[in-house]
Structure formats: structure tokens, C-alpha cells
């Protein structure tokens, strides 16, 4: 028996058949229950754990259909339109679901019906473990059910019961007008939804991939090599689908369904639409290399699915003699970068993305390659061009697009953030003659500056001070980029920062 706290009282949240047989009800106070049956075993309910379990179960139900929705805290809705034939018909599917859940230790009730509302009611109020309600049989099935089967609020249910309406059957043929007036629109909507007079969509937990291919295995596989082989096979099938649609994949998810119900998902993304099975296999190989230790096959995988989570129009290779080579090169380059991303993560592969700004750190920004490729083409030229020969003369445009920098020298490395240094200057407005950075003292032999950089007040929330940048060289020839923030105004001392390193 599980308890939960409600209005300062421990109440029964759920219980097993044995407790039910004792005549206890959900909602009864624990103290009362204990008084009646002192040897009850009571455990605290764990709603978070329950939710996690339900999510895992929903993952597993991906087995049967990609459209799985979580329904409340104790139900799952599966849209099996077009999937039933894979399992030998609706009845066979229903039996399979119940049998396999029972094998995992779940005492599940299942209802299969033409509408989500009807299926919901059938699972909960038919009194049988599994029931299949054929199209047209909704009214008949609903008639003996209690009002709770309509998914209406408890209060509305109580109101209906107070006027003697206890079964759904009593409502089926009642005039609609007075019903709506007295009990609200929801009641009638629910009724129509259950009967199939009004469409109702379920909201799947995971986005449904536009394309997916899968292989069910009679003999579960657990070797990485087998998975790789199978992946290649699936990728070949997927290519045919992609070719038919004139598309390539941008994002792929490989779902591995373990025999015991655990599902592992591995995703890769590509920087250009991809079709080649070999290339897809390569990307996943990098993922496997990282995951090898954490991917536990357990008793083996029984279902492997490769889904294209996102696709994009595929540029057919140009027939042009020169263009063809460029496209191939470009493809190879993208694949190379995609492999690096698959192995190291998206954040580890970056491109400089200089911004139009005169604040040094804004000019220094980097963007992950993934975002860099996807950003809307600025002036239509922002794509990677190999060897300077782009298709469509993009190379020239790329050249022009380069942001124009300030004419003053700029460092080769810019520190992640300016670092405070202790500096001493001869004259208040002048360069420092020595400074201490990371505990070492540097004596300045020469300096250039100041170069004033004003804050961009239109971008910043808080007004920051102007910076005076100096380029200095120390006794050993090291060159640094320092700046002073603030000025000597009697009381406050300006602060010095080291921001960059010159070669």
C-alpha cells in the first residue's frame, strides 16, 4: 500500500489486490486503515519516480508506434493507426502489449478503440485486461460505464449524479441543449470525442520523425559490430526513401530497444543534407567510440530503428565538370567536420564569427560549427567554400564579406576575459612602466597608445567605463594588450587589465 499526504493527513494513494480485498479504498486515511488492519504495510508514494517509470515505459512503447503520449500519471496513449498490421492485426497487437507489459511486471489494462476517449474509458472501466472496441461500437460500450469514463471533473460528475444520472447510457440519448446549459460544454465535448463525432488529437511525447526505418530481430544482438552492420543496412533502406523524396537528412536518431525494455537513443546531426549510407555509418561510428563504455547491451537489442528526425532538400550533384569536384570536396569536408562533432560534441568545433562591433570581445566571438552553417546566409554568401572555389562564385562574395577591422594592431590571442593586473604608470594618462600579471612582474620597455574604445551604450544594460588600450612590449620582447578603465580623479584609482597577447 502506498500513502501520500493530502490536507495534512496521510491517505491511501494506491494499493494492491490484497488490500482491496480487505475493503479499503483509495483516499481513506492511513490512521483509519491501520485501525482496521494493524498489519498493513505502508510506503510513501514517489510521484517523481512514478513519472520517470512512466516515461521509460513510454520510450519502450515506441516499439509499437512512434506516436506515444503520456496520459496523466498512470496512462499511456498510443496512436497505432497504420501500425497494427505489423503485429498481425489489432487484437494481436493488443495481446502483445499486455503480455509484454505483464512480463515486465506491470498489471496493465488496455483498451483499443477508434477514438482516444473511448480507448481511455475502455482501458479503465471495461473491467477486462484488454478490450478491443470496433468502430461503431462506442455507444454500446459506453452505456454501462460510470460517468467517470467521460473524463469529466469530479464536481460535474457529482452534480450529474445528484439528478440521478449515474451511467453514460443515461446521457447518450438525453437532449443536448439542457445538458450544455446545466453541466457545461466540456461534458458534451467529451461525449462526442468518445463517440468519434469530434476529432481529438493526442500530443506525442517525442516529435514524430518524417522518415524512419527499423529492423526487428528474432535473435537479439549485443555486439557493437552487429549493430554497425545493421545500421548500414538501415541506412541503405533509408537512402531509398530519401531519394524518393529528394531529400537528405540533417539529423538522425538511432534507437536501440533492449530486450528488457530500456531504450537507448543516439543522435547525430549533419551540416549538410546527407544520404550516403557509408557516411551515416561513419558518423555513428564516432558516437559509438565515445559511448562504447556507457552503451550497455544487457541481454541484447531486439529492435533497432533509424529515424531521420529532420530532413532538408538534397542538392543533386552538378553535372558540370568543374562544379562536380567542388561539391564532392565540400561534401567530404562537411562529413569530416560532422565526424569531429559527433565525437567531440557540438561545442568543441567552432568557427570565428566576427560581429560588427568595436568592442574587442564582440569581434572575437566564436560560434559552434553547427550554428555557423545554419545561420541565415548573411548577404547570401555565408557558406563554407573549399579551396576558394565555391559553386556559384560564392568565393568572391566571402572575400568581400569579411568585416573590416580597425587599423590599429590587434593581438593574436584574446583572453577569455580581461584579467586584472597591478600596474604602475608614470603619468596618470600614460602607459604603465611595469605590471604584475599572474604573479609575474613585467617591465615595460616600450608602449603605444592610448587607443580609446568607448562602450556600446546602446547594447549594454549597465553603463561601463571607456577603455584606453595600450600596446606594450616588455624587456624580453613580449608584447601585450593592456587597457585602463577609469581615470585618476583624486579618489578612485583606474584599473588596469590585460586583454590580449601579440606574437
Amino acid at each position: 500500500m502506498l500513502s501520500h499526504r493530502e490536507d495534512n493527513t496521510q491517505r491511501i494513494a494506491a494499493m494492491n489486490e490484497a488490500a482491496e480485498a480487505l475493503g479499503l479504498r483509495v483516499g481513506l486515511g492511513i490512521a483509519d486503515a491501520r485501525a482496521m488492519h494493524p498489519d498493513l504495510e505502508v510506503l510513501e508514494a514517489d510521484p517523481v519516480g512514478d513519472e520517470r517509470l512512466l516515461t521509460r515505459l513510454a520510450d519502450w512503447c515506441d516499439h509499437f508506434t512512434p506516436l506515444v503520449a503520456i496520459d496523466g500519471y498512470d496512462g499511456l496513449l498510443l496512436d497505432i493507426s497504420g501500425c497494427a498490421h505489423l503485429f498481425g492485426g489489432e487484437d494481436a497487437l493488443l495481446q502483445e502489449v499486455v503480455r509484454r507489459l505483464a512480463a515486465q511486471g506491470f498489471d496493465a489494462r488496455a483498451g483499443l478503440a477508434p477514438t482516444p476517449g473511448m480507448a481511455w474509458a475502455a482501458a479503465r472501466f471495461s473491467g477486462r485486461a484488454a478490450v478491443n472496441i470496433p468502430a461503431g461500437g462506442e455507444g454500446e460500450a459506453l452505456t454501462p460505464m460510470p460517468l467517470a469514463a467521460l473524463r469529466i471533473a469530479e464536481e460535474a460528475q457529482r452534480k450529474l449524479e445528484s439528478v440521478g444520472l449515474r451511467r453514460v447510457g443515461a446521457l447518450l440519448n438525453a437532449p443536448r441543449g439542457p445538458l450544455v446549459r446545466r453541466f457545461g460544454r466540456l461534458l458534451v465535448t467529451r461525449l462526442d470525442q468518445a463517440l468519434g463525432l469530434v476529432e481529438e488529437a493526442i500530443s506525442p511525447r517525442l516529435p514524430v520523425p518524417p522518415l524512419s526505418v527499423e529492423r526487428r530481430l528474432g535473435e537479439p544482438i549485443s555486439l557493437l559490430d552487429d549493430i554497425k552492420d545493421l545500421l548500414l543496412l538501415l541506412a541503405r533502406t533509408l537512402r531509398q526513401d530519401l531519394e524518393r523524396r529528394g531529400e537528405g537528412v540533417r539529423q538522425l536518431t538511432l534507437s536501440l530497444f533492449r530486450v528488457d525494455g530500456v531504450v537507448s537513443r543516439i543522435s547525430v546531426s549533419t551540416s549538410r543534407p546527407l544520404r550516403e549510407p557509408q557516411a551515416i555509418a561513419l558518423l555513428f561510428r564516432e558516437k559509438f567510440a565515445v559511448l562504447e563504455d556507457s552503451l550497455d547491451p544487457g541481454q541484447g537489442f531486439e529492435l533497432v530503428r533509424l529515424a531521420a528526425a529532420s530532413t532538408a532538400p538534397y542538392v543533386e550533384k552538378q553535372e558540370d565538370l568543374h562544379g562536380d569536384a567542388v561539391v564532392v570536396e565540400d561534401e567530404r569536408f562537411s562529413l569530416m567536420v560532422d565526424r569531429l562533432r559527433a565525437r567531440l560534441g557540438d561545442a568543441a568545433v567552432m568557427m570565428p564569427t566576427p560581429a560588427e562591433s568595436h568592442i574587442p570581445e564582440r569581434q572575437a566571438e566564436f560560434m559552434s560549427f553547427r550554428d555557423w552553417v545554419r545561420q541565415p546566409a548573411r548577404s547570401g554568401a555565408h557558406r563554407f567554400v573549399m579551396n576558394g572555389r565555391g559553386s556559384g562564385g560564392a568565393a568572391a562574395a566571402v572575400q568581400q564579406e569579411e568585416v573590416t577591422w580597425s587599423v590599429s594592431p590587434r593581438p593574436l590571442r584574446l583572453l577569455a576575459r580581461p584579467e586584472l593586473v597591478e600596474a604602475a604608470a608614470e603619468v596618470p594618462e600614460g602607459p604603465p612602466f611595469s605590471f604584475r600579471w599572474r604573479k609575474a612582474l613585467y617591465r615595460v620597455s616600450r608602449a603605444e597608445g592610448p587607443e580609446r574604445i568607448e562602450p556600446e551604450w546602446w547594447r549594454e544594460a549597465a553603463i561601463s567605463a571607456a577603455r584606453d588600450y595600450f600596446r606594450v612590449e616588455d624587456m624580453e620582447g613580449r608584447r601585450f594588450w593592456l587597457f585602463r578603465e577609469g581615470t585618476y580623479d583624486g579618489e578612485t584609482m583606474p584599473r588596469w587589465y590585460l586583454h590580449g597577447l601579440f606574437p
Binding site: 569530416m336 555565408h382 573549399m386 566571402v398 616600450r446 612590449e473 624587456m475 624580453e476 620582447g477 606574437p503
Partner: protein
């Protein structure tokens, strides 16, 4: 095949050891037996031991004496090791490598992108490449640089190797710090082999690293050199900072020659110029402000980095001599 590979591995290690004891280059040991090398060439089609074989040829650095010491220039397809003295010199060692890459690119006319690999914590410590800087200094525009920063050194080595195999870049820069245990002789041999197959240079930059046996064909030790004064049409600007200057020591080359050079980088023409102790106009102008640099150079005797005084003194001495 496996057995011969092991045997070659042992042979290579032995050569390295003998070379270390004799204080010479392993290549020179091989070079002594010209006939033997021919046999090796025939045996080993992969070219593992055929060090003379640089398919993409050499590219001269445009500095007469340095090119001479290098035997005509830097090999275009090879592992080139660049050792920075201290981590605080991170911009210098990287800058020198980029300069070499820029010269190689200029020579081949290739616009292929550059791959810059470094560990994320190192980039955090020493700063990321700064686009306005590398564009101006080395003519590498920001759409020509791919930056990869793995967390582990194994991954960094993997990226370098894979990138070389795929042959998609104009040059690869691999930045590491110190003498990591993971960078074994075998690892550098693999990199060297990949670079040779790829046909472009792979720069192994080791900040604050000690010299140790690696398979690099060429090794430089780089630190910053005091710059000359900035020149304008109106003359030199007092106390100004001129073009980037590098104090470069060649410690390993195919010819076995060594030497120290002070090189100035001309970011406009993408060329090196050697700073001679005695030269024409620029250095004479320099001496006008000798009091400036001279005094300060003398003061470096009190500096906090005694280890570097020798080299610094050399640079300052050369200026004074001018």
C-alpha cells in the same frame, strides 16, 4: 607484415638512441648508407623510414641563411615542431606557426582552411585566436579557420590524425602544453606519417615544452624578440612597437644544421626578414634612439626571468652593435 613492422619500430628506436648518444640526427645515420636507404625504399612502400622523400617538396622561408640551414626550405608535407619557451609566450609560438603556414599557403596558392586544435583548458588559459589579429597579421580570414578544442589530449591527437587523413585542410596546428605523457614517440611518428601522406604541414606547437625525441622533421625553439621601431614615411616613431619579431633557434633539421635567427614578420607581404646585426637604414635610425632601448635593456639585468637573459642580451647587443 606485423613482424616487419615491429622490427622497423625497434630499428627506429635504436637509431634514435644512437643519435641521442652521438648527439646527431637519426637521418644522418641513415644518410651514411645511401645504398641501404635504397633498399628500404623498395621494401617499405609506405615510406615510413624514407625520410628524404618529401613528395610535396620544400617551401623556402625567404631568409637566405635559414633556408640554407634547412637545406632549401621547410618540407611542405611534414611534422614541424615548434617549442615555445613559456606558456606566457603562447602568442609567439602560435604566431610563428601561423607565419609558416601563411608562407606555405602563399606558395601553393591554396585557400584551404586551417585547422587549429588545442585543449579547451589551454585556450581558456591563454586565450582564443582573435580574428582581427590573425586576419591582419597572417592574411587568414575568419572563414578559413576551424577551431577544435577537445578536452582530452587523446582526442586532440585523434583529430589531428583524422584531419590529416581526410586531407581537407591547408595546414594543421596542434597546440599542446609541456611534455604530455600521451604524446609518445610513436604518436609523433603517426602524426609525421599522416602529414607526409596528406601533403601539407602539421605544426606541433608545444608551449613550455622540453626538447624530447619526436619524429618531427624540423624543430624550432621560438621566443619573442624585442621589436624594432615602427617606421612611417616621416621616419621612425620613438618608443613605438614595430612588426612582430621572433627569436628562432633551429634545433633539428634534415641537414642537421642548427642556428639562431631573429626574424621579423612582414604582415603585408607575408614574408620573413632576418634582422642582421649590421644593416642599412632601419637599424641606423634605430641607434638614434639607442638611449631608449639601451638603457632599458640594461635594466633587464634586474628582471625576473634570468633564464631568458642570454637571448635577450643577444638581441639587444645586436641592436647596439648596429
Amino acid at each position: 607484415m606485423a613482424r616487419t613492422a615491429t622490427a622497423q619500430e625497434q630499428l627506429f628506436a635504436l637509431r634514435q638512441q644512437i643519435a641521442r648518444i652521438e648527439g646527431t640526427q637519426p637521418e644522418r645515420l641513415e644518410g651514411g648508407r645511401a645504398g641501404g636507404e635504397e633498399v628500404e625504399k623498395a621494401d617499405d612502400s609506405a615510406g615510413m623510414l624514407v625520410r628524404r622523400n618529401h613528395p610535396a617538396g620544400l617551401f623556402p622561408l625567404g631568409v637566405v641563411e635559414l633556408d640554407e640551414a634547412l637545406g632549401g626550405g621547410l618540407p611542405r608535407a611534414a611534422l614541424i615542431e615548434i617549442i615555445g619557451r613559456q606558456t606566457r609566450d603562447a602568442a609567439v609560438a602560435a604566431g610563428f606557426s601561423l607565419a609558416l603556414a601563411a608562407i606555405a599557403r602563399k606558395g601553393s596558392g591554396s585557400q584551404s582552411p586551417l585547422l587549429w586544435i588545442g585543449l579547451s583548458n589551454f585556450f581558456f588559459e591563454t586565450g582564443l585566436p582573435y580574428a582581427p589579429g590573425f586576419t591582419r597579421l597572417f592574411g587568414i580570414t575568419s572563414d578559413r579557420l576551424l577551431l577544435v578544442h577537445p578536452k582530452r589530449i587523446e582526442d586532440a591527437l585523434w583529430v589531428a590524425e583524422e584531419a590529416a587523413i581526410q586531407n581537407q585542410f591547408g595546414a594543421i596546428l596542434l597546440e599542446l602544453q609541456g611534455n604530455p605523457a600521451k604524446l609518445t614517440l610513436t604518436a609523433t611518428r603517426r602524426l609525421s606519417h599522416r602529414a607526409r601522406a596528406a601533403g601539407y604541414p602539421l605544426f606541433l606547437i608545444r608551449h613550455a615544452g622540453e626538447e624530447e625525441p619526436t619524429a618531427a622533421s624540423t624543430r624550432f625553439q621560438v621566443s619573442s624578440a624585442a621589436s624594432t621601431l615602427r617606421e612611417t614615411i616621416a621616419g621612425t616613431v620613438p618608443r613605438s612597437i614595430g612588426p612582430p619579431a621572433f627569436a628562432v633557434t633551429l634545433t633539428r633539421s634534415r641537414t642537421g644544421k642548427e642556428g639562431t635567427f631573429v626574424l621579423e614578420w612582414n604582415s603585408h607581404d607575408l614574408t620573413f626578414e632576418e634582422r642582421q646585426p649590421v644593416r642599412g637604414k632601419p637599424l641606423q635610425l634605430d641607434t638614434i634612439h639607442a638611449a631608449d632601448t639601451g638603457n632599458l635593456a640594461a635594466a633587464s639585468g634586474n628582471g625576473s626571468h634570468p633564464a631568458s637573459q642570454a637571448r635577450n642580451g643577444l638581441a639587444a647587443g645586436r641592436q647596439k652593435a648596429g
